[in-house]
Subunit: 234 residues, 2 copies
């Protein structure tokens, strides 16, 4: 299809499609003459993903570019490819951006209490808590990767903040939630595996991480209301 | 304790404590003479909650005041009290605020396809999907309340957006996630019930809804990484 058709079929304004092309978020089409190029279904799929990440996920253009570089890296095994793409996404840390714990940036240590732990007792408590939780869950990969993983760092930061604000949690509190998220992750991968290629699978994982979170959170709120009605009546 | 002790024990700057008092987010202390008042543990607990909602949940002051009015309303049964407090919280709709579907505001119809459905096929599809999902789950309270509930509205809006962007989901996709969120909600209420009074229970539910979401989302990301490593190796 031509560029105009790509815009029409995706519902994305042509100026926006051209902007994504210029920014390298959408790969160039196959050139058919001096002024025209041909686009296919893979462009349409990518265009949807890019728009969803920017418009719904509110992810910065530079971050989208970084995520897509991993999605497109056919040299990677599936776990690393998925991991790299998902790690490049923003992680909710439950704290205003630029807050001290966030601004500290990635810790270089692979596991165990980080250097800041020595000065911040809340962070030290959160570090120990996450380590105990992962050990009890038997999540050995997550434990081994430790603070290299942004989800691990964001989890520690969030728990440190809750601790500091007077809401300390322990591993018994977190275990049932982690188990339910383990089930959710298994469903994520079951669904992903229905797609034919590793590239489409990685695209799906990114879309699901960036777009599916509000679905989960609203399902939780609905379930709370339902369960409360069941237990206490109206 | 005196006002200065309240600031010290909570770690909240005195100017901020005074601001919360002026804004009515913190109830006044028991006056002991012309210039001093006495504060107790309930003030400390409330101060933590208010600061967490504003600082971590980034919830506007007017919304915090509305939520707390429900938390403090001893005339309400527990389900309605919880519901009212949780409904007053912001709901993630997976879309930039002010986007058309959001700006349409609450629908007045309690259930079934809303009026906008006639003009937006994506919203109509999302309405039907949520209705089917709730029916299959047997979540009768959520189904009956329908679009009166902000979580229901936000879920429909999110699914309509995903549909519009080319990521249609069906009830089979959503059922396993809803079931895991049902388990999470049961844990939420188990934990809440350990607290002695309906007011403390409602405070806990609000804190958990506003602060616990980043914990859940990061646990999901960690679980995805773990499960992917299990299935595909490193």
């Amino acid at each position: 299809m031509r560029l105009a058709d790509l815009g029409e079929r995706s519902g994305v304004p042509l100026a926006t499609v051209k902007y994504y092309l210029r920014e390298g978020l959408l790969p160039p089409g196959r050139r058919i003459n001096a002024t025209q190029a041909e686009y296919d279904e893979s462009h349409l799929r990518r265009l949807r993903l890019v728009r969803a990440m920017i418009q719904v996920g509110r992810i910065p253009v530079a971050t989208v570019r970084e995520v897509l570089a991993h999605v497109d890296d056919d040299s990677l095994g599936l776990t690393v490819r998925l991991g790299a793409a998902l790690w490049a996404l923003p992680h909710p840390a439950g704290e205003a951006p630029g807050a001290p714990a966030e601004a500290a940036g990635p810790s270089r240590e692979a596991a165990g209490p980080s250097r800041e732990a020595a000065v911040d007792p809340h962070r030290a408590a959160a570090d120990l808590l996450v380590d105990e939780l992962l050990a009890r869950l038997g999540w050995s990969a997550a434990r081994e990767l430790g603070a290299l993983s942004p989800a691990h760092r964001a989890l520690v930061t969030t728990l440190a903040t809750l601790h500091r604000l007077g809401y300390p949690l322990d591993a018994d509190d977190l275990l049932p939630y982690a188990r339910t998220m383990e089930q959710a992750a298994a469903h994520d991968l079951d669904r992903m595996e229905q797609l034919p290629t590793p590239r489409e699978q990685t695209e799906y994982a990114v879309a699901s991480a960036a777009l599916f979170e509000p679905v989960l959170l609203n399902l939780r709120r609905l379930a709370q209301c339902e369960e409360s009605n069941r237990r206490y009546g109206l």
